[in-house]
Structure formats: structure tokens, C-alpha cells
Amino acid sequence: MTAHRVGRVVSYVVMILIGVVAAAPFLYLLVLSFKSRIDILTVPPTLHFDWSQIKSNYGNVVHEQGYITYIENSAIVTGASTLIALALGVPAGYAFSRLHFRGSDTLASTILSFRFMPPVAVAIPIFLMIRYLGLVNGYLGLILPYVAFTLPLVVWIMIGFFDEIPHEIDEAAMVDGLTRPWVLLRVLLPLVRPGILVAATFGVIFIWNEFLVGLYIVNSQGHWTIPIAASSLLTVESPIDWNIAATVGILTVIPILVFSMLVQRYIVRGITAGAVR
């Protein structure tokens, strides 16, 4: 009995350690973002915070470094790309789940395999294409490739969710005279709402974080998305202002963390989609 109790205590200690390891780097960055340049040099950092210093760090980043603009750019690009990817990917997922025609499996695998394509492999042609179209330094120049990157993920997730809906529902609606596209629009869309939310969640996270292709396509500061803006701090040759860098880092991930908390239950479903069935 006592051995059992010791085991329980050990388990709780281990669990707390796991939580600390997972959260510590983020909390450390948060603490640094509250400090002055001088105070960062104190190891380990004290937990003494000065409100005016916090205000000065965040004020500096938001007002002087133009972070409102970057967040706005990221939000527009992320929102538009996700919506377009859903509009194209949801019907495709439905078609793959229901319509079996010659080569449909090969086509589905091909689309899904693009999920794993190394972005560097297409970055140059896409950049040259966007430049040719005159869309460098604009929202559309980012939205067009981001939709392509998100689509395979959306199709993959949607096939799984459509597969879970009994075919009888479609057939009943078709007997009532609806064609497939109308069945999707009128009958099935409400039923696959969780799937759409899972797909949207992952689209948003992926696009918000995307960096490599963005770096190629955007070169004027006014059009930076937030990862590009954050990365610009790391490239300067002079020593980094770590309190400002930390503040930028926190502001970059806060929107994604808040968003993730709102859609928490869809995240685990999305990660396991395709794996556990």
C-alpha cells in the first residue's frame, strides 16, 4: 500500500516536470519580454516586474516596429487563404469519399502527397511565377501559394469526416431529387461542421506560421507577415535587443495560442486524423 502511494507521488512529480518542460521555454520568453535590456543579464531572471517597463517594451513593438501592420497582413492572408482552401477542398474531400471512378484513389494519394512536398522545391518556381504575374509584395502573391499548400491537408481531413457520415443520408436526399453538389450544400455541410473546423484550424495554424515561401515573395517591409517580421530581428548583425525580440516573439504566438484555446477540441482530432481510425 505504501509502495503504491510512493508510486503515485512519483507519478505526480513526473507529471509536473513534463508540464514544466513543455511550458518553460514559452514562459521564459514571456518573462524576458517584461524586462529591460540590463535586467535580462541577471541569471536566473528575477520575478520582479516593472509595469512601466512592460508598457515600454510592448508599446515600442506595437507602435514603433509596426506590429499592427504585420498582424493585419498575417490575419488577411491567413483568413483569405483558409477560406479559399476550404471552398476548394471540402467539395473535393466529399467527391473522394463518395465517388469512386477509375484512378480516383491514385488522384487522392497524389493530392495528399503534396502535404509532404518540401516547400523549397517549389519556392523558386512559385516566386518566379508570382513575380511574372506582378504580384510580389501583395496579399494575393502570398494567398495563391498558401492555398495550394493548405489544400492537401483540407482534402485529407475532409475525406475522413465525410467517410464517417452514412451514405444513406446522401441517397435519401438524392431520391428526393437533389444532385450531389446540392446534397453537399444543403444536407451534408451542417453535418461535417466539426470536420470543416478541424481543417480550418490546421489551415490557420499552418499559414500563420509559414515562413520560407513568404520570405521569397515578400520583400517590402510593409507587406511582411508576422513570422517574417519576427525573423528580421534575428538576422541583424548587431547584438539583438533581447527584450524587444522576446516581446515580438510573444506577440507572434499569442494570436495562435488564443485561437488554439478557442478550438482546443478540434486540434487533437486534426492531429490524429488519418492515424487513428
Binding site: 507519478s11 507529471m15 508540464g19 513543455a22 514559452f26 521564459y28 520568453l29 541577471t42 541569471v43 536566473p44 473535393a92 467527391a95 465517388l99 469512386h100 488522384l107 487522392a108 502527397s113 509532404f116 512536398m117 518540401p118 516547400p119 523549397v120 522545391a121 517549389v122 519556392a123 523558386i124 518556381p125 512559385i126 518566379l128 511565377m129 495563391l144 492555398v147 495550394a148 489544400l151 482534402v155 475525406i159 444513406e168 441517397e171 438524392m174 444532385t179 500563420w208 506560421n209 515562413f211 520560407l212 508576422i226 513570422p227 519576427a230 534575428l234 525580440a245 515580438v248 516573439g249 507572434t252 504566438v253 495562435i256 495560442l257 487533437v268 492531429i271 492515424a275 487513428v276 481510425r277
Partner: protein, 305 residues
């Protein structure tokens, strides 16, 4: 089964209408990917046999010279080695730790939901910011981790400055970010396993260790393999983390294939040479994806009831 489903559908819609419907549902998506994924991918292949001149914005056909240069440069093989180490070591660590975490959380612990929630966080974070936060943690002058290392008696570690250590630092940070991914997948599989098998096992007097080795792990194997292959393909193309954490350094010790392709393309504007590097990656990734699709049945082909 396919025969049943198609005869079933014929009754509901004539073939021409069916074709039209398929086209309407699938066409836009397929067309989009042809223009923005397949076309660029083919262009890349063609460019890998060409040389780009940034001054005149012109391309010259040079055959396999890019590939020849690549394969004969000692640097390329070092980069391949780095990429393989990062992928293999990272995935091995993540699979072991992720599975251990899943087994650990199979016991009932109060507050476990909160800790499992915290575990999801690292993989949602912007990779560039992950690089930033670890650069702070590993800072040689005031970083918290060196302070801890010194306190624990390991002494000062040149996490990002020692060429023999830097690649392993990448493995460490990649594992911090992605062990939770393996955990989530294996844990979900564990939760979905039928409980009666385990009850029978414990009635038969099997110890926890025996049950884990002979019952649980074999049952978890499909999920573990899936997570491992999935992670391997992703780790293989790691770019953002390298960019944010080491920027390839010190002295190119942490160049990965993605990073080398990026340097040649973006920085030096050697688009043809960069395309050759990235095509080596495309072929490797294609092999990995084929493997993955063998492991996981992406689609369940079944006839409607």
C-alpha cells in the same frame, strides 16, 4: 465492392450527370493544384538542368552539370549527413519519449488534462519563434539553460557555438517541439484499444512490464510507425528551425538540405543549382510518402450499404 457501389449509383444518376458532378466537385481543387503545385514542381525539375543568370534574367541549359557539381562537392554529403542525423536521431528520440508519455498518461492522474493540454502547445508555436526562445534559453552569457547546466555540474556547454554540439541542439529543440505529436497519436490509439484485452492480461497474472511489452506495444505499433514516418518526412525538410536557431552555423555545421537549397536560391540566386538540391529532396520525400501510404490506409474503399 466497387461493382456494387457503381451499379447502386447508376440507378440514381445517369453516367453523364455523374461525370459532370465529379468534375464540378473535384475540378476546381485539381486544377488549382495543377497550376500551383504540379506546374511549379515540373518547372523545378526543368530548372535543375539549367543555369540562371540574374543579370540578364536568362536560363541556359547545362544538362546534368548542377547535379554533377552537387554530388562532387564534399559539402553536399556533409549536408546530407546532417539532415539524416537530424531526421533519424530526432525521430528516434521523439518516438521513444512520445510512446513513454502515452503510457505514462494511461494512468489516472488528477490534473492530467491540463498537462496534456500544455503538451500540445509546442507544436503550435511559430517555428521562427521557437528558434528565438531557444536562442534565449541557450544564450552563452545569460541563458537559463547554461545556468542550469553549470549548477548541475555539466559545466558550460557551447550549445550553438560548438560545431560538434550545434546539430544535437537542433535535435534537442526539434524533439521538444515534436515529441508531443507522437504522444498525441499514440495516446489516441491507446485510448481506442479495447480494455478487455488488458483485463484478461492482468487476470492471467502478467506484470505491468509483461503486459506492456507483449500486449500494449504490439497493439500500438501501427500508430507508432505512422507517427514515426510522418515525423521523419517533416523533419527531413526542416528549414525554419535551422534558420531561427543556428542559421546553418557554426561554420555550416547545421546546414540541412532545405537550408542549403534556400541559401543557394534565395541568397546567391543560383536558382538552377538550388533546384537540383531540392529535387534530391523531392525524390527522397516521394519515397517516404510511398512508405507512409503503405503504412496507413488513407482511404477506406467500401461500398455503400
Amino acid at each position: 465492392m466497387a461493382a456494387i457501389s457503381s451499379s447502386h449509383r447508376t440507378r440514381l444518376a445517369p453516367p453523364t450527370q455523374r461525370r459532370g458532378e465529379t468534375l464540378l466537385l473535384l475540378g476546381p481543387c485539381a486544377l488549382y493544384l495543377v497550376v500551383f503545385s504540379i506546374f511549379p514542381l515540373i518547372t523545378s525539375l526543368v530548372r535543375s538542368f539549367q543555369d540562371y543568370d540574374p543579370k540578364g534574367n536568362t536560363w541556359t541549359w547545362i544538362g546534368t552539370r548542377n547535379y554533377a557539381e552537387l554530388f562532387h562537392a564534399g559539402q553536399f554529403w556533409t549536408v546530407v549527413e546532417n539532415t539524416v542525423v537530424l531526421t533519424a536521431a530526432g525521430v528516434a528520440i521523439q518516438v521513444v519519449l512520445g510512446t513513454a508519455l502515452a503510457l505514462f498518461f494511461s494512468q489516472q492522474l488528477r490534473g492530467a488534462t491540463i498537462v496534456r493540454g500544455l503538451l500540445i502547445l509546442p507544436m503550435l508555436l511559430t517555428p521562427i519563434v521557437v528558434g528565438l526562445m531557444w536562442r534565449a534559453l541557450l544564450n552563452p552569457e545569460w541563458g537559463l539553460l547554461n545556468w542550469v547546466a553549470v549548477k548541475l555540474g555539466f559545466g558550460y556547454i557551447g550549445w550553438l557555438s560548438d560545431p560538434h554540439v550545434a546539430l544535437w541542439t537542433l535535435v534537442l529543440v526539434d524533439s521538444w517541439q515534436w515529441t508531443p505529436f507522437v504522444f498525441v497519436i499514440v495516446y489516441a490509439r491507446l485510448q481506442a484499444l479495447p480494455q478487455d484485452v488488458f483485463e484478461a492480461g492482468s487476470v492471467d497474472g502478467a506484470s505491468w512490464f509483461q503486459r506492456t511489452t507483449y500486449l500494449t506495444l504490439p497493439l500500438l505499433a501501427p500508430a507508432i510507425v505512422f507517427a514515426a514516418v510522418f515525423r521523419a518526412i517533416d523533419a527531413f525538410r526542416t528549414f525554419d528551425l535551422v534558420w531561427g536557431l543556428t542559421n546553418g552555423g557554426p561554420v555550416q555545421a547545421t546546414y540541412t538540405l532545405s537550408f542549403q537549397a534556400f541559401q543557394n536560391g534565395f541568397v546567391f540566386q543560383r536558382y538552377g543549382f538550388a533546384s537540383a538540391i531540392s529535387y534530391v529532396m523531392v525524390v527522397t520525400a516521394a519515397v517516404g510518402v510511398t512508405l507512409l501510404f503503405r503504412v496507413v490506409k488513407v482511404r477506406r474503399v467500401e461500398a455503400p450499404a
